[in-house]
Each structure stands twice: as C-alpha cells, then as structure tokens.
Subunit: 748 residues, 2 copies
Amino acid sequence: MPVGERVEIHDGIAKVTGKAVFTGDIKLPGMLYAKVLRSPHAHALIKNVDLSIARQLPGVKAAISFADIPQVPYNGCGAPDKELIHDQYILNDKVRFVGDGVAAVAAVDEETAAEALKQIKVEYEILPSVLTAEEALAEGAPCIHGGENNILTRIAFEDGNVEKGLAEADYVFEDRFITSKVTPASLEPCGVSVASFDSQGRLTVWTSTQMPFVVRGILARALNLPYGKIRVIKPFVGGGFGSRLGAISEPLCSLLSMITGKPVKLQFTREEAFIATETRHPVIFKLRTGMTKDGIFTAREMKAVVDTGAYATHGPFIAGIIGSWFSGTYRCSNVKYEGLAVYTNTVSAGAFRGYANPQVAFAVESQLDIIARKIGYDPVELRRKNYLKEGETWRFTGWPLECSVGLPSCLEEGMKRIRWGERSAPSSPSKKRGKGMAISMHCSGGRPRLNEVSSATIKLNEDGSANVYTGSTDMGQGSDTTLAQIAAEAMGIKYTDVIFSGGEDTDVNPFDIGTRASRQAYSGGHVVKKSGEIIRGRLLEHASRMLEAPANSLEIGSGEIWLKDNPAVRISVGDVSRYAQIRGGGQIVAAVSEEPPGNPPAYGAQFAEVEVDTKTGEVAVLQVVACHDVGRAINPTVVEGQIEGAIQQGVGYALLENLVIDKKTGRILNDNLLDYKMLTFPDMPQTDVCIIEAPSRTGPYGVKSVGESGLVPTAAAIANAIFDATGIRICELPITPEKILDALNLKE
Amino acid sequence: MPVGERVEIHDGIAKVTGKAVFTGDIKLPGMLYAKVLRSPHAHALIKNVDLSIARQLPGVKAAISFADIPQVPYNGCGAPDKELIHDQYILNDKVRFVGDGVAAVAAVDEETAAEALKQIKVEYEILPSVLTAEEALAEGAPCIHGGENNILTRIAFEDGNVEKGLAEADYVFEDRFITSKVTPASLEPCGVSVASFDSQGRLTVWTSTQMPFVVRGILARALNLPYGKIRVIKPFVGGGFGSRLGAISEPLCSLLSMITGKPVKLQFTREEAFIATETRHPVIFKLRTGMTKDGIFTAREMKAVVDTGAYATHGPFIAGIIGSWFSGTYRCSNVKYEGLAVYTNTVSAGAFRGYANPQVAFAVESQLDIIARKIGYDPVELRRKNYLKEGETWRFTGWPLECSVGLPSCLEEGMKRIRWGERSAPSSPSKKRGKGMAISMHCSGGRPRLNEVSSATIKLNEDGSANVYTGSTDMGQGSDTTLAQIAAEAMGIKYTDVIFSGGEDTDVNPFDIGTRASRQAYSGGHVVKKSGEIIRGRLLEHASRMLEAPANSLEIGSGEIWLKDNPAVRISVGDVSRYAQIRGGGQIVAAVSEEPPGNPPAYGAQFAEVEVDTKTGEVAVLQVVACHDVGRAINPTVVEGQIEGAIQQGVGYALLENLVIDKKTGRILNDNLLDYKMLTFPDMPQTDVCIIEAPSRTGPYGVKSVGESGLVPTAAAIANAIFDATGIRICELPITPEKILDALNLKE
C-alpha cells in the first residue's frame, strides 16, 4: 500500500549525496556570467547610463541599459488565469526601489562582470519616495507609477448589513493589527537562471522555479517569442515558498543570451535575493466585530491596506483574497470587507507561503482571543461555536463545505497534548508562562477562482515499472514523492517502480499551472490518480485475457495481479505489460489533463506555550502543538516535514523576522543571514505535530492540503500565549523584546 | 497542407551548421575511455588473459576479460517479439571471428587505454575455422557453438506440389546465385556509446541506435538490471541501414561504467566498425522454376543457405523471411522453400537495408531475365503476367493484397523514361550498351509476423504549437520530418509549429519497437495521425463553444479554425488551446499506442542502362530509372533522398562492395574506406527517380514505405543490363571486371 507509507523521499539520495544538480551548478560550454547594476536610490529617473567603458573591457560581451532594449511591460507573477497589471520592464528608465535593476552586463567570468559594473556611470534624477503604505496614501504623495495616487486596487464587498449587525451586538470590538515585511530566504537564494538561445531561434532556460509553464508565458511576452520557441527546464529547487512563482532573473538572463548568442548565467547573490526578490505583503488591518454574550458573531468588518512594494505583481489578488480568508473561516451573516493595494518604494511583495492567510489569521485569531477573554469564553469554545460547519457555504469558494471538517478533532487533540487549561511553573521568578491557540482554514488549490489544471502522462515499461510525467513542480516540499506514491497506488505497482518526473521540462512534462496554493497533492494528485487508474484498468483487461478470468475477479497490488478467489494464480504486472506491448497491440499509456473536482479546506489548530522574560522582554516558545487535518497523509514524513518547516517560519514571523528598511534611504539594513534573524535548528521549539485525517470526498485517497497551512495560525497562537503569560497584547509583528518591554512598562 | 510538401528537413539546420550532437560528441565530467582487445584468430579458446600489467598502468580504471564478469548469454538483435538464440556474451572464453572481443579497458584517456591494450597478454588455443557456408556444412567441420554441426536454423515449406508443377512445365530452369558479404559503412562508424551508472543504481546510455527500446531490453538481460533502471538516449544518428538495430558497444560500455562508477565512452574506430559490426548476410541460392510457353509459372522452388557469421543474431529470421520474399511477389500455385542458416568464423551478419530482399531479388529477378530471354518474352511483359494482383493472397502477410498495386504504373513510367527497347550507341567500339530491369515488392513494417507497436503523445501549447513525442527513431532517413508533417496535417497546424521528438529517450518517448522493416511512415505515421486527429477533434469541440457554432460547421488548417460558410469568422489554434487550458478545464493532450491496421507492400521497378568495356570488364552504369510506388510521398524530397541513397548502395552491391576475407587467417583485408569500394558522389550514375502514388487504404494519408525498397531491385537490373549488353550472365555478386572478363573469355 504505497499511499500512507513513509517511503524513501524521491530525491532524498540525490540531495544527501550532493548529486542533485541545482541551477547554479549548471555550466554550459562558452557560458557567460551576467551581473546587474542596482539602484542605490528608492525612487529616481535615469537620465543617462554610460556603458562605453564597461563595453570596452576585455571579456565583456554585452552591457545594456533601458536604452538598448525594447520596453515591453510585463508582470512577474504572470498568472495566465488573471487580468494582470503589467508594470515591470526588463530594464526601465525609472527605478522604484533600492535594488531595482539599472543596467546589466554579460562577461566571460564573474570577476570581469563585476569589474564592468563598476565602470558604468549612471546619471539619476532623484525623486521623493514613499516607504510605507501610510506614506503612499498620504495626500500629495509622489506617484510611483504615474496616475493620481499609489492605489492599484480597491476591492470591497458587503454581505448582509454590518452596521445593523454591530447595532445588535452585545459587544463591539475594534482593533488594529500590523504585519511585517518578511522574506523567505530559501537555502538556494532566489534569482538564478541559465539561458541559451540556439542557432534555430529556440530559447532554453534552466531556472529554479515553482511554475515553469508560467515562466515560459512571461518570457513569451517579455521577449516577444512564441511559446513553442521557449523551453523552460527546472533543475532541483532549493526551497520556493512562493518566491519562485513567476519570473525573477529569467527575462534579463534570456535577453542577454539572445543578444550575445551565448549561454548566460545570472545568479543573484544572497544580498541581491534579500533586496531584489519578493517578500510577504505587509498589511495594516482594521477590524470591527460584533458579538453576542452567547459568543455568536453579529457582524464582522475588515479593512486591509496591502503594501505591494514597487510593482503590482500579486498585489491586487492579495487585496482580494484577504477578504476571502477573513470571511471564510467563521459563520456570520453580516460581513464587510474593503481592501486596498498600494505601491511603495520598497522591493515588491509577492507570493509567500499562505498568500495573506498568515496575516489575516494573525489579526482575526488575535482579536478572537481578545474577545474570548473579554466575554469570558474559553478561546477554544468560542471557535467551536463559530467555525463553519459541513454543508455551509464557504465564502472562499462559494460552494458548500465538504462533509469532512476535521477541525473538532484538531481542537480536541491539541487541547489534550498541550494540557490546555493547565499552567506550568516558570523557570525563574521573573519569567511568566502562558498558553495560546489559534486555528486555520486553508485552501487545497484555488478553485473556482484560479485555474487548477494539472496533467499527467504515464507509460508502462516491460518490467512493470512506469514513467510518470506530470507538470507538478517539486520545489523541495516533497510533491514528487507524494505523487509517485499516488501513482503507484493507483496503478497497483510498487513505489520503487515509479520513475517520476514532476514539472522538470516544459517540452517534456505536460502542462500544470504550477506549484501554488497548496495544490499539488490535491490537484496534481487528482490527475496522477486518474491516469494511474486508466493504467490499472488496462492492466486488468489484459490480465483477464491472459488468466482467462473476468477482470472483476482480479486483484492488483505491488506489481502483481491475482485471482481474488485463488491468490496462488498470479501474474506480474511486468508480464502483463510485455504482453500488451508485444501481443496486445500497444504499450499501456494514459494521458489526463484537467482540473480537480473541488477545493476542500485543510484545517489546523495550533497551541503554543511560551515563557516570557519580563526583565528582557524575550519570549521562549516552549512548545508548539500543531494538529492539522490534511484529509489523508499520503506520506506522513512529508506531511510532518511540511508542518515542522512551517512552524519554523511561523515562529520567526511571530517573533524575529522583519526586513528593516532605513527610513531615510529606503535601503534594507539587514540584507544578509547574519542580520536577518531566522530560526535555525537550535532555535526550534519543541514541536508536536499531529496529523488528523478527515478524508476529503473529492481528493485523491482523501487528500486535502498541507503546504501552507502549518504557518497560518502560528503567529497568532504565540501572540495569544504571550497575552496569557503577561496580559499584554502585541498587535504588530514581529513581537520583539522591545515591544514587550515597552508594553510591560506602559502597563505598569 | 503540410503533407506532400517539400518542407525544411527537421534536423537539416542542426546538421549543416555542425550543431547536431552525435554520440561521439558527448563528453561527461570524469568520463573514461574504453577500448577493446580483439582476437587475431578466427576461432580459438582463450586459456588465459593476463591483465596485471595493464591494470597497474596509471590512469587505467578497469581491465577485464571473461574471467571477471558473469557469463550471461544474449542476442545482440534483441527482438522482443521473437524466440531468440542467445549465444553472445559481453566477453567470453572463446573467440569466433577475427575481431571478436577478448578483453577491455577503461582509462582516463584514449592513449592510456590504447597503451593498456598492448600490455594485455592472451594465451590462445587456436581451433580450426570455417570461413564460408559451404565449409561450415562440410562433414567433420569444426563446430563453432558446440552441438553437432553449424546449422542454427532449418526452415522449409511447400504450397501445392512443386514436382508436379515442374512436370507440367514447358520449360524448367535451374540456376544458382551467390550474394556477397557487404557492410553499410555509415558515415558515423557503427559502435559508439556512452554509459553512466549513477549513484542511485540507474544506468543511462547514450548510443547511436535505431532501436533504443530494444537496446534497453538487451541491456536489461545482459546486465541483469530491471528495464526501469535503464535509460537509453539516442543522440543524432549518422546512418543506420539496419546495422544499429540492436546492441553493439552498449553492453560492454555499460558494464565498464558499472564497474568503475564513472561515465565511460566506447567508440569503435572505422576499422573496428568494419571487422566487428554486422554485415549483410551472404546467401547461396538454388532456384528451380517451371514455366509454360505462355509465360506462366507452374512451379517455383528455392533453396537458400544463409551465412550468419559467428553469432546467430538475425540468422534464423533471415532464413525464414527469404522464403517470404521469394514466394510473395509472383503468383504460383506450387511453391517450395528450404532455408538453412549456418555459422561461420566471420563477423556476424545482421540487418542491412532490405533484410534479405536484395539477395532474393538478385536471384529471382536475374533468373526471370534468363527465362524471359529463353522463352522469348519481353522481361517487362513476363513480370506483368505474373505479379500478384489486388485481392490475391500475399504470402508475406497471409492477407489479401490491398487494392492499391502501383506496379503497373511503375513499369509503364519506367519503360517510357528509359526508352525501353531502344539501344543507344556505345561510346567506343570495344564497349557495349544494354538495358535491364527488375521489380521489387517490399513490406511496410512486419505485420503480422512482427510486433508493429508505435506510440505517440501530443500536448498542445498556449501558442498553438505542439510537442509531439513518438518512439519512432530517425537515423538520418528523415522520419522526424515525415512524422512531423503528418502530425501537423492531422492536427490542422503548421509544420513549423510542431516540436518533434522521435525516439530520443526511453524515459521520455513512448514505446516503439524501433526503426526496421521500412515501418516508420506507415506504423509511426499511423499513431501520429491518430493522436493528431484526437487533438483536432478536441480543438473543434472547444472552438465550437467559443464560436457558438456546431463543430461540423468548422474547418481547420494552418493553425486557424473558421466557419466553413463564413471564413471571415476565424480563431487561432493558439487561442483555442489557451481557452482549453485556462477556461476549458485542461491542456489538449493525446496518447496513442498501437499497431497499424495492415502492411501494404511498396512496389518498385528499376531500369538500368550500362556500358560494358569488353577490354577491361569495367561496367559504367549510365543511368538508373527508379519508379517507386510509395503510396503517398509525405515529403517528396525525403522520398527521393531515400531512393537515391538506396541506388548508391544498390549499384555498389551490384558492382563493387565486398568484404574480402583472407582464406588463411579469416581476416578482412579491406577494413577501411580506401580498400572497401563504395560509390562516392562522382561515381553516382544519372538517377531518375519517379514517385508513383497508389495510395494505401490503411496507411496515414495513403503512405506505404520507401526506406528499403529502392535498393532491392538495383543489382538485378544492372546484372540484366550487363547481359543485355554482352550476353553474359554473372550470378555472383559483386559483378567485378574480373568476373566479366573471365566470362567473356569463356564465351569466346
């Protein structure tokens, strides 16, 4: 039974032996090395770029600025299923954040390229800049993209009547929450590609991406090439988390290859990844919530201001989806939402694990804690009263909820494991301990608002092994392992007999929208299962002929087929495959491309215990109990890995991570792993991951999702635990010792 | 209309610009170079191989003989659809021809490998050898593979009663014909591969092959690896002609990679390709033919002795198929055949363009010329009386002939073009001119006796271009071009929008038995067309929704879809493809794997005019008129190229080519391109290729075949022309000046 097993991770050996080839490892004959000159100014017009000296350096094969290339606007997120604001250029005559590209060179080695950058003279006309959403919205603020203001999207809706609901409430709560600008800082720095434009006019791009087909689409637009002339190859990816959803270094790298006729590598440094690749969106939330004394919502209102940074990319969708996350989790007849997305002169925000749900959960779950304590309810009990039940309409999809809500089990198991209601003794008198919790509800893909097409093709070999090709991209999260298990299960063969390829090559692998929205197990798994079942059906047909028994009298598993009534009569899948190929008229093959049938939410309840040092303000997270309903854990090790990794990011989000932007210059001051504080192994809290399986009716083998959900409730659970310990409420991330000390002082 | 057009050859630019990567061009990091120590003896036992000095040479990573490796018998032809005689070993303790492998080394460079070979000491026990089929059959001949004699196959059948038929004949003809041992000598020497056995136990082999899936199967057996652990990649191939049908250098190369843990290249020299890779089978024919004075066969009998060389490989099938070629072309109620395949101590024979049909045609068509002249019929007329008509049973398949016999048109057109019946004046008094002709009938694949599975998968891109993957291997003959045209036609898109991959990678491309038996246009074309039509159907369904018109009111072509009644209303295939992918729920994909419905014969009539110098015996071929019914010429340039290339080999077969084996030592004396005489460009006769199209009912767009047929009748047509010029009949190939002078002298 490959599904449910802790099988060996598909790419495990390659990674631990160092054999895995990442984009940065690729070296093509005659390959050039590119580097980008970046703006030191947050906002400026480029009056002139003098490339003459750079171009004369021996070994420099190209040096370009905006003046040398066609100005084709594109959007780096490139979602083909959306109306996009195209406001980015490979190089433009205006820079909009510190780190924005000004010029680029390609040279025979990195040293020469670096030297050439130094020889470029740029004349800037510096413009006033805005570094926060509030500044951007201020009257008379400088406009980053022309137009009248810096607002790129305004989204609003109201269901029911919020004012009436608030009037009917026993209690009305008004709170403001602010989330920070954080960056994924994957092990493999974001922004690395190799491009080779060949003599037949075909462009091949190796790139570390989550969405090879989307990258192809962006390149087609930005470079004015037909899709068929572009091939995107995805080597191993060292962590994506959303940051590799679209084009990063690819358009510039490709253009330099087209100009020079040589292969070109463009690999951002760690510092460039910090200052010039996408972050999570900072959001300012205002919440108004009406509640009865029985703990029932009468009205819920959210206003969100989303800072998209210098370019639109995902900004409009983030402004929209915040309303869905907000309104989706709890039942309430009167709901109102307004979201604004605004430009600032900071590096663009983009997709980052959770796609605004962590921000929303921090606000909503923090406020719910405030409410529970105020009206005298246990926080768990208050959530139990209000979470959405089976059959109710989930505002995220507009569809009735599937009858597989695992939240009650998550809550029950979590309370037990954290010893909810008990307070343990602190390690010293100046320290205080407390417990907090929060819940999450996350999507499994984006239906119906997003295109959820996945595809799989399978061909069976003579020994009963199978080549499985999907467009589903593994970026380190383990989808290759998960989907190979589903393939094996569906076909009835061994996991080790699946030769799996996930989204490695746009020429070879069938289309998939890409890895986003926690979709691969559900959506990728759907087509893999369906195509695997076609293979299984064909196997049984042929075996029926070979064994002279009706197909429905046969059983298949682990690469063998036998008579249900007489298991001694058996035949190997390899024998059947050979028979089909040689005597039965054809190789057993299948190809499926479609959307999955639904979008079942995955649930989570996280419980945190903290100890706050009231002298220093430091918070130690003693333990995190994470109970997640994933529908079905195809591979528990992969699921646990996803949740543990998410907790690492969630704790960092709660307490440590933050891009510190210099208010004067707009520069990111902590653009390196020494100054940007992330949890490393010794910093990790004790984590207790509990997998709850409330199988989805529509997911392959009951699967929902797990890719993002583990991070969604963490920050709020910790904030709530800090309140439980200290009685202080921090409404702005990260919850630093300074903020705690300030609040403690204020309280005293 | 892509079908029928002289479109740009698929791999043309890559080849003429030198960008095409052949196996010999591949260089992997850390790659070792292998070399083989070959036997100087035609037949010997190996008593000892001392590798100790070779192994100690710096840079030598492996040195092996039979004693170091498991002895797993295999058959290098590896046909999975046949019962095979497994009598080959990667290295064995017996050598059976001069050039047989004795030991092998892998070293850091070629020089070190060559030096290591010199340091190997071999102790042989020399055995008596047999170099011809007649010697091999003689009483008391040494047995090459043990057993009682050197016969590996005896095949016999009789339809009707030949003795009765002969008794009823007005004339009985008894003749003996002998064909030579020739080698294809492709531009890229046969025997080159690179193998890499990786840390995960997976073997990747790059090799110049016609049948990547068959090579995989042989490696699975010879190396005891599951199919799923082997990946065979076919780079560009520099000519196959049958010589690359199975395993050549791959098993040894792979074994050396498995032993050393490093990538290994094994590339035969031109001389090694001559002495150690497969040749055409020499055959000795005895014919007895009964005929009425009205020119009707009463009986036909053939006895054939096939010299398979040192190993079985294709020998048994050649002995069998000769009976089919012999009995297939002409109508006769009484037919008898006996075929023997025998071992000799010469390099193995294998598949070579025509697969024994050129040998049979030389015998049968030469004898028919003898008969025509004897009984006073025009040779064309005699063939017209006897060739198989539509609906009659073709003994090759056992099926009734398709109603598409293009032979009459071939004959008519050929007679016109050669000015049949007219004799032109010789260029000097000592020279004589004459004309001769012969016909051919060849298969389009091997149904029903061979597995004819081909497969295609197609996926449509957002711009209306399509990735087409088949298992059909292009070895330079042009099948990639032909199949890409069929794909474009079937889908309704432009040829230039097809991104085609034919049999390049066993992991990626779906199964195909390989390129043999002139099958790719018919069998590969069948699945490409069928999968393309699935794509077209899906396109029309989606377009019907988009244009709000019934699918059957729409027309498609050149990447556009329009209303039949109102062509101004149109939409691009790219738009429909995007719609399907993003809004219509899935990428448009198709996967088909099956056998084609039939096996229509391709016909040819070739007419040659020669001038024989009676002083020197030299023959000048003045012109060859080649009229070939190919069913449908998907690309006339490809078809003409195939026929012209075949004529080059056919004229060489008739007059020049022959591996001269030293009677004492068994060595091939002309193992290089200086001494082995092949036609080069200036030697080519004037050729007049005429394509006849009698469309097959079962072939895609009417296709039959052309890969081999152009070579089948050439030697006989030239022999018959020589008779017409001189009155002498040479029954043994090649027809050298010596043989002609001897015969002229004898005649005088």
